[in-house]
Amino acid sequence: MPSSTSNFKRILRLPRLFFRPPTEAESVHGGPPLEFERPIPQIPWRGMTVVVVVIVIAAACAWEFYCRSIGYGPTLNDNEDLWTLTRQRVKPESIVIIGDSRGWFDLDLDELQKGLGKRPVQLAMGGGCGYPVLADLAADKTFHGTIICSFVPWLFFAPPGTPPMERGEKAVRRSHTQTPAQRASQYLAMPLEEHVAFLKQEELTLDDLLKRLPIPNRSDARVPPRLPPYFGTLDRERRARMTEECARPGSELQKRIQQIWLPLFTPHPPPSYIPTDVFMAKMKDAIEKRARDTIAAVEKLRARGGKVVFIRLPVTGGLKALEDKTTPRNQTWDPLLQSTGAPGIYFEDFRELASFNCPEWSHLSAGDSVEFSKRLVPHLRAALGM
């Protein structure tokens, strides 16, 4: 095969940029006569390939330029593989942040490290329920560290089969079953995602672009509510930071997100196929079971010397009013602390924590998250008996 290989090298050195008919050699299979041989279309492959490569590169560059021009920047995607890589950093005595996106955006790892003496591992996830991660850490017999669990009642008590619960379960499952190929793909994806803005899953993919089309639905269609658009960046430690555009007072993006939170956090009507009272009873059972399971997980951790502290992070504006109405503190937060015996920090109880404004009602800006974390540290130290 030396001759064919050198031919190939010569061809590679001097690509033909123009269409040309295939040579006879290209149309004949070079190996032994085969019983079956695939036909190869006889078209000018070299010229076509060059044109395709040029079009694809030009289109990708144009798309990248456009995405950056409308405010998107490179950031890592939060997926189960990144979560798994972070989960693997948990040491027996680590401080671990779990829960929802508020724990993700509002807690600054540098400030917590300064105040608590150890760099926390960030395992909270956007729109996720913290329970599966709490249960996983409780089941990990080597772990006897500290868990800081962000608590949003609507997410923490999400019943099995709902998106917040599935998100947590999927991440935990991946951490137990990640294949070498999935791990390698994550390592390959990270440098790309850190430099290319359009590689933003859940926002700039074809699927998400299609979802943005303003097509009205049938009046009676039970369509899931929309999720908020891109408003944060993520680094390799999974530290999330709100974008400047979202934090800018009165920005359009901010208003859009605010209006998306409201239907997302409004209790959905019971399914049509289950009587309301049966459904409500099922929900009550699911919440009570979650409470019992949480108590068991906390006790298991405590028995090994681990600690758990629940924190209720700032929420403001219309979303706070909605949460206070649908998941009042005396029915969610107070019973949780009482039943688990775990310490808790509720932002409203402390003036220095309650004075923050969430630009889109649910999360702190990147700058405020640093100051908030600094102010949170003494409370955490007290709660953890440090």
Partner: protein, 473 residues
Amino acid sequence: MLFNSLTFIVFFAVVVTAYWSIHSWTARKNLLVTASYIFYGAWNPPFAALLFSTTAMDFWLGRRIAKAKDQPSRRAWLVGSVCMNLSMLGFFKYGNFLLENFQWLLARIGIVYHPPHLDILLPVGISFYTFHSLSYTLDIYRGVLQPTRSLRDFVLAVSFFPQLVAGPIVRAGDFLPQLVRPPRLQIGQFMWGLLLMTLGLFEKIVLADTMLAGSADRIFGYAGPLVALDSWLGVIAFAGQIFFDFAGYSTCAIGAALCLGFHLKDNFRFPYAAIGFSDFWRRWHISLSTFLRDYLYIPLGGNRVAWTRAAINLVIVMFLGGLWHGAAWTFVVWGLLHGFYLVIEHASRALIGERAWTANFAVKLLLGLITYGAVCLAWVFFRASDFTIATRMLRGMFGGYPHGDAILATREMLQIGIVTFFMMLAHWSLRDINVETAVTRLPRWVVTSAWALMACAIILTQGTSNAFIYFQF
């Protein structure tokens, strides 16, 4: 590793570059064996040992069959190979299914038995590579293949990474002759391979995962009754999803093999333009249907026996074909339904015979649409995880829930409608030719634009490395 992953892109680029840079054919084959085992081990390294042990056993048994002096000995060695392969498949794939059914049977006669749940991890693609390997001993027994002297060549034939985990089921007899002499690198063949890989990935990432999978998953995962429109659209979405998913994998496999100079046969030929069910099975998962035909249906007597016996043979073959897809009764019902369809078709042909009016295009189209509808009905059992869901879906499809829920967004309905319309158009336009002919006939700017558009759509979609549906089989 998955074709639709970054790891595979890097892996493939490295393998192809190294492969065409090496002069020695032996070294190239060694490279492919190593690459194939890395490809497979990237899922779960211990399963690579299982793959090798199955292969090595069949290599040895193949030689024993060829060397055996009399027919009983040959048969005994073949039975050994079949038992070894099927018991491996049975243990990993059907262990829990068999135990559960055994428990159910005992309960019927009043014996309470609680079998332990076997915590068995199913090796990826076991159904495929078992058949790759089994075809070798079966063909030696049938006298259509000489055993190879090289274990390495046979290991490569079974584990060749493009077709290892989800087909096509490439028979050793089709692959081993290609290992005799090295192929020459040809630009046209290499680029056609890349175009086929682009097409396959486009089918999987864009059409199956992005345009159809979400709707199909929501419809089949919904716990309540659905109105007829949503039920039908869910099934139609799944019919498209499974085609693009599986045909996409096969197209990628054929393309990747071509880039390395190997020729794999078609696994799909525009199946939704099939007129009748025999035609459907000549177009859908061709490597499995021909495998079952040659190694099961024909040995059972095929259609050379009495009509009733041939019908029973068909049902047996389709029953086993259903079971091959998964350890669940829903798959069995799917297979039996197809068996039933085939029997009905054979009976109709016997009654009606070849009439001139059956060649009319309108009649063909009507028969084709009936075939598609019946295939969709069968997909309900294939996709539903249990009979409760399947029953609810069928009831919804036939108007059993006029006040059921509507859960699809208008956008999703449009996606399903548009993709299905163009899929059917493509299948009917191309049903009597192949992709290669179509590409040769099309204006070059159309092919170039389509290739570029597919590549751009793949980049835009990004994909989340969803596994191919057939990996679980």
